[in-house]
Symmetry: C2
Subunit: 343 residues, 2 copies
DNA sequence: TTGTACGCGTTATCAT
DNA sequence: ATGATAACGCGTACAA
């Protein structure tokens, strides 16, 4: 089965390439008879137009670049699946790349995608990205770009986010409602806006409930893994008397903490209640199961991709497009790790 | 920042397009002086050659299509990360698509990728793929394709697999070695070669150890989820007296079984030992932690991508290429769910 | 109703 | 050392 082009069809039929092209695209000025002739032969030869040539002419690649900070967290898979869903519906292809949570790599991937002439880019900023020149370059280069999850105010583009402040507020309030008044926070470093917003939500909620904020029970993890959680748990254990609830920025950290506290004989949730972020599948398996803030990754992916495609198509049709920031709702999923009902 | 082409550079410099192209590509027959002139201006204008036009001429898109049966299993993420790694090194882009474990979708995705003129395709067959015409079409279409993980003998192409028979043999032998002689098997349906091979490994190992095979303790799960495992556990419980070890084809199923058996008060591993496949991150979290066969997804991805690119480049240089089948080693990871030492 | 001619941006070949 | 030309495959304004 060799590859055929308009030319081969034209030759076999003894007509011009232009006619073949028009026939296949149902131009009105082609007779029904030739249309049929052409289409039949195309069918028979299994002809498909060369999308590269098409892209060259149309100045559209139908390619979308998707950059994730890592491919380890379940969360980004959920997002990717949402992206693929929408892209497929709208007839776009998705190129996947990982920045490995590293700014240089982020820059490199962005360059590669722009050079590949993708029609648009979906990006979650790496936690180590502190300067946004490379992202703004892409925008100035007139390539539509949508930030998702990890965003920055220093970039003027559409964004899809979760309201981290509100999420942390819901989480903290939940802990307070079940009777915790000594609530520790476990988070990553402050580069990411996400971490800052959650911290603010946490702190404000304490304030609104008349609970003093105590710096000594806020812990900063080295990384987002189970082992980092285990390490933190030992430090929490030292402050055991000052803590009866933990707001943890990340499910994996929370799981590590649960594992270690179990080993140390601390009763969860009776002595210390704990709550995570992400609703990763792990949360159902831990002992006890983990209360968590669900972030609806699939939905984030869908929305981000939808907006991006809208923007791409607006650009093609030279319509103006106004930037949007969409907030995807979060959800508190209550499980056993916060199931005590103290008074 | 507008987009520039060779033409704009040529005009600004008052020289021909051909010269500009040659200068940028370091042709020997261009004077050092003009080379410098051209390169400086290109730099200044932030010129990047249009990869679409390049592809059109070179008949190479530098695009690789990656089709996974689903994007839920951690395993495929590992594979994807291996693929991305190699692709990046060799300067290829990866388009990701999911067949959703559904043959029609697999066909559709394959078509789309071929139409997009990808240079090659990485495919894991869906469990519901029973006929391979569509895959063979791709090969006849002269698009290099490598099957990974889920493969079929009915397709003549390079393959990257794990030796499922051997894996099941290792697993079964391990159960026997720790003293289990009543070993149940839990698997999915038999469409997938994988399931068949594991079954053969299981059965042969029983035979080699003089243990009779009993059909009534082989269970077929409806799907690969935790809930399916929970359902199976109830059936296992009915046969409790005839089972003291479980070979489970899938970590999620195993986790479901553990959860339910815990609830039913069955002691693991003392009364029943259990073992899974995949080394998903969950395995460290269950109570007890789960012994498993690690499949090195990252390595599968790397190898598959390497072979594919070799084949692509052989094709470009019109060298012959001989198909390979690579076996990625598996590993038995011992954890607490099989830690008894009976005699 | 059909065909001619050109352009998209690049590179290879052949003249100059 | 440089440039004119053609070609990759497609779509379209314009001419016939």
């Amino acid at each position: 089965m060799e590859k055929h082009s308009l030319k081969t069809i034209a030759q076999k039929l003894g007509i011009s390439v232009a006619t073949v092209s028009k026939a296949l695209n149902d131009y009105k000025d082609i007779s029904a008879a030739t249309k049929k002739k052409v289409k039949d032969l195309a069918e028979e030869l299994n002809f498909v137009p060369d999308s590269v040539a098409k892209s060259l002419r149309a100045k559209q690649s139908r390619l979308i670049g998707f950059i994730a900070p890592d491919l380890l967290h379940h969360f980004f898979f959920n997002i990717l699946s949402g992206v693929l869903k929408v892209a497929q519906e709208k007839d776009y292809y998705v190129i996947v790349a990982s920045s490995e949570d590293n700014m240089e790599n982020e820059i490199r991937q962005l360059h590669l995608l722009v050079n590949k002439r993708v029609d648009g880019i979906l990006l979650a900023l790496s936690d180590n990205t502190l300067d946004y020149g490379h992202v703004n370059n892409v925008l100035q280069n007139d390539t539509p770009l949508v930030l998702y999850d990890k965003v920055s105010k220093a970039v003027k583009c559409s964004k899809v986010v979760i309201n981290d402040r509100k999420a942390a507020q819901m989480a903290t309030q939940h802990l307070i409602d079940i009777g915790c008044h000594k609530i520790a926070e476990v988070r990553g470093h402050f580069n990411a806006l996400t971490a800052i917003d959650r911290f603010i939500g946490y702190r404000n909620t304490l304030r609104d409930n008349g609970i003093p904020y105590k710096r000594e029970i806020v812990f900063e993890a080295n990384g987002p893994t189970i082992n980092d959680g285990i390490a933190i748990a030992d430090r929490i254990f030292e402050h055991k008397d000052n803590i009866n609830g933990i707001l943890c920025h990340n499910d994996l950290l929370a799981i590590g903490i649960i594992i270690r506290l179990n080993e140390l004989g601390v009763k969860i949730p009776e002595e210390i209640a704990i709550l995570g972020f992400s609703d990763s599948p792990y949360t159902k398996i831990t002992q006890p199961s983990l209360t968590t803030i669900k972030q609806h990754g699939h939905e984030i992916g869908r929305k981000a991709c939808e907006i991006l495609i809208e923007e791409i198509e607006a650009k093609v049709e030279k319509r103006p497009f106004k930037l949007k920031t969409i907030e995807v709702p979060i959800e508190l999923i209550k499980r056993k790790s916060t199931s005590k009902s103290l008074t």
